[in-house]
């Protein structure tokens, strides 16, 4: 295993691969700094351009991109109080007050160093988990992998919003989109509507771009103004922030663990990881109740360490079990299958070098990302202030060109338009979109597992112990998700009632 890690490191040191990693990091930093866009949009755009790359290059650029969006997303959070991505919402609570107090540099120094340590910690945990996971994964058969696929989709469906039913339907829609085309078992053409283009199925690229990229840019355009328009201030005290990180090393380490843990659970991820870490810091840090929210650097270190560590955690179920926990991991899984790799046991045995390349890419990208952020904070802040009018046509054109790379057929463009409209409506009506992508990516894989399970074991596949345990986990995740959603809705109704009463009171006074 050590040999595979060494070979992977040597593989990555080839200049072209390091170059791709660097390009990925640059793209990730820019996308992280622009509120509203993020790693997912970048990954969807990048996907078709990886078709002609070897697997080491493809994963270097893709992992380079997703590893660092959580590093640069700190910039708009601290400077403008607008989260760069959903993973840096908690950073605002203390980061922005720090900027107002003239301590933006200190906040950045701390955030970047915590991000670096969190990211490297996440990749270390991922590397260490491989020898532990290998015997477990090798003991799994088709029935277990089928159930794990369903578990992944159901968890993402119920946890990615407060409307679990919508999440489940979105996941099922994704599975149905994945069934379009010729059925590999029978040769029956499913839902192709007489279109030759659909015989091979709906390609992932136009769906991902349509579901995520276009709706984001349409919404940014609808908002109409520049994304952030607060003037930037001069940065000083970066070194003091770095020293803060080392002074609070144990907090950073604990939040790294929180990040890995949250990242590894399908359905949790970017939008909650920062809150988990922030909550943990409030509960455990001395005097946090008085100082957090007023510009305490520990309130910046905690979410930043966690949101970079989560990628390492998220890669664990994706690589080992083929269960992506988020939409970006689903796209990475899609890239794996495009590269001819099968997640699961093969990634831990014959393709171990590719797995270790991903781990090295994750660690090195975090180092690149931190150094670049230290050097380029002012430039990245300018990117965050770009006028949306200049961004919209550029993104639209790049998305259309990227989409056309899927099969280089007009069908790609029609798929893009259809899924853009679907994605935008889903966004406006609060339908979670990640389950749809997960369903699409996993559809073919889990249908195949179901087919093998039934042909080989008949109905008895459901009686296998691990299958039964996973069934219970699915039931538990559905119960928890629905209960959680109900609580959130009750809380919202209470808030609305309170607001109405307050407004009524004000009207009476008038």
């Amino acid at each position: 295993m050590l040999e595979a890690a060494t070979v992977a490191f040597e593989n990555l040191l080839v200049p072209t691969r390091l170059g791709y990693l660097f390009i990925g990091v640059l793209m990730g930093l820019a996308l992280g700094a622009i509120p509203g866009l993020g790693g997912l949009v970048g990954l969807a755009i990048l996907l078709p351009f990886t078709f002609d790359m070897d697997s080491f290059e493809a994963f270097a650029i893709m992992i380079g991109l997703i590893s660092v969006t959580s590093t640069s997303d700190t910039i708009p959070s601290v400077l403008f109080g607008v989260p760069g991505t959903s993973a840096s919402q908690a950073t605002i609570l203390d980061g922005h007050p720090m900027a107002k107090k003239g301590e933006a540099g200190r906040a950045f120094g701390g955030a970047y160093m915590a991000s670096l340590l969190g990211g490297v910690f996440g990749s270390l945990i991922l590397a260490l988990s491989i020898p532990v996971l290998r015997p477990i994964v090798l003991a799994f058969g088709s029935p277990e992998f089928f159930m794990l696929g369903l578990l992944g989709i159901s968890m993402v469906a119920v946890l990615s919003g407060t409307a679990p039913v919508k999440g489940l339907v979105a996941g099922a829609l994704g599975l149905c989109v994945g069934m379009v085309g010729m059925d590999p078992q029978t040769g029956v053409l499913r839902w192709v509507f007489g279109q030759l283009y659909l015989w091979d199925g709906v390609p992932l690229v136009p769906v991902a771009l349509g579901i995520f990229a276009i709706p984001e840019i349409v919404d940014l355009t609808i908002r109409g103004t520049r994304i952030a328009d607060v003037p930037k201030e001069r940065l000083k005290g970066v070194m003091s922030g770095i020293r803060d990180t080392f002074r609070n090393w144990f907090l950073v380490l604990r939040c790294g663990v929180v990040g890995v843990f949250v990242g590894a659970i399908p359905g949790l991820g970017a939008s909650v990881v920062d809150w988990f870490a922030y909550g943990h810091a409030i509960q455990t840090e001395k005097g946090a109740n008085e100082t957090f929210g007023t510009g305490d650097v520990r309130g910046v270190l905690a979410p930043e360490a966690a949101n970079n560590a989560k990628e390492g955690g998220a890669l664990i179920p994706t690589i080992a079990f083929g269960v992506p926990g988020s939409a970006s991991m689903a796209l990475l899984l899609g890239a794996m299958t495009i590269q001819g790799l099968t997640p699961g046991s093969a990634m831990l045995t014959k393709d171990l070098a590719v797995t270790y390349t991903m781990i090295w890419s994750l660690a090195i990208a975090n180092i690149f990302g931190t150094i670049l952020c230290m050097l380029l904070t002012n430039t990245l802040a300018k990117i965050a202030m770009v006028r949306i009018n200049l961004l919209t046509p550029l993104v639209v054109v790049i998305v259309i060109l990227a989409s056309f790379q899927a099969t280089r057929h007009w069908g790609d463009l029609w798929s893009l338009l259809f899924f853009s409209l679907l994605g935008w409506f889903m966004k406006r009506f609060s339908w979670p979109r990640p389950p749809l992508i997960l369903g699409l990516v996993l559809s073919g894989i889990i249908e195949n597992y179901l087919f093998i399970s039934i042909s080989r074991y008949g109905a008895t596949w459901m009686l296998r112990p691990i299958v039964m345990i996973v069934m219970l986990l699915i039931a538990a995740s559905l119960y928890y998700g629905i209960r959680n959603a109900r609580k959130a809705q009750e809380l919202q109704q209470m808030r609305e009632g309170q607001i109405e009463r307050e407004q009524g009171g004000e009207a009476d006074e008038v």
Partner: protein
């Protein structure tokens, strides 16, 4: 519990009809081919009915609290009429770009789209628009034509696109003799 029609419910109805259509179509397939579609599709139809009930009787506009969503929340401060107008506008530009690609091909449509969008829709100065257009043309020809060798689909009027591609080819063969 009170009944309230809302656009969110309309979207659920569309999804429900789509699922019904998918399940009904699968009826004619042989057992193995329809096993998975029905395993997923039939429970999903029931879930759609459930969601429709929630939409209609919970009195919400499909506008749940998005806490916990893997997304940044939608900005609800813009009035719905403005949202619809601006969305139609941007989707209109996208459809316009498609039409242009169909008529004159990619190579000309993409820079033209940038020029017109920035100059007319975004209200940028024509200097900015022309610079953007030229940079995009260089990027397209450099990356998509010279590096990726994309076979661009011909437009209805293909002369201009062929002329530009011919120029690039002549330039390249002069630069790199075969």
């Amino acid at each position: 519990m009170k009944f309230k029609a809302n656009p969110g419910a309309l979207f659920t109805v569309v999804v429900l009809l789509l699922m019904v259509g998918l399940v009904m179509t699968a009826k004619q397939w042989q057992y193995q081919a329809r096993l998975f579609p029905w395993t997923i599709g039939i429970p999903t139809m029931l879930l759609c009915f459930l969601q429709l009930g929630l939409d209609l009787f919970r009195g919400k506009d499909g506008d749940e609290d998005v806490a916990g969503m893997m997304d940044l929340p939608v900005d609800r401060s813009v009035p719905v009429a403005v949202v619809i107008r601006r969305a139609l506008n941007i989707f209109g530009w996208i459809v316009g770009l498609y039409l242009s690609i169909w008529i004159i091909g990619f190579i000309l449509s993409v820079p033209l789209f940038l020029l017109l969008y920035l100059g007319i829709q975004a209200g940028e100065s024509w200097k900015v628009a022309v610079t953007y257009m030229l940079v995009m043309m260089v990027f397209m020809i450099g990356v998509f034509e010279m590096v990726l060798h994309i076979p661009w689909p011909p437009g209805l009027i293909n002369g201009p696109q062929e002329f530009i591609l011919g120029l690039v080819e002549r330039y390249l063969s002069g630069l790199v003799p075969i």
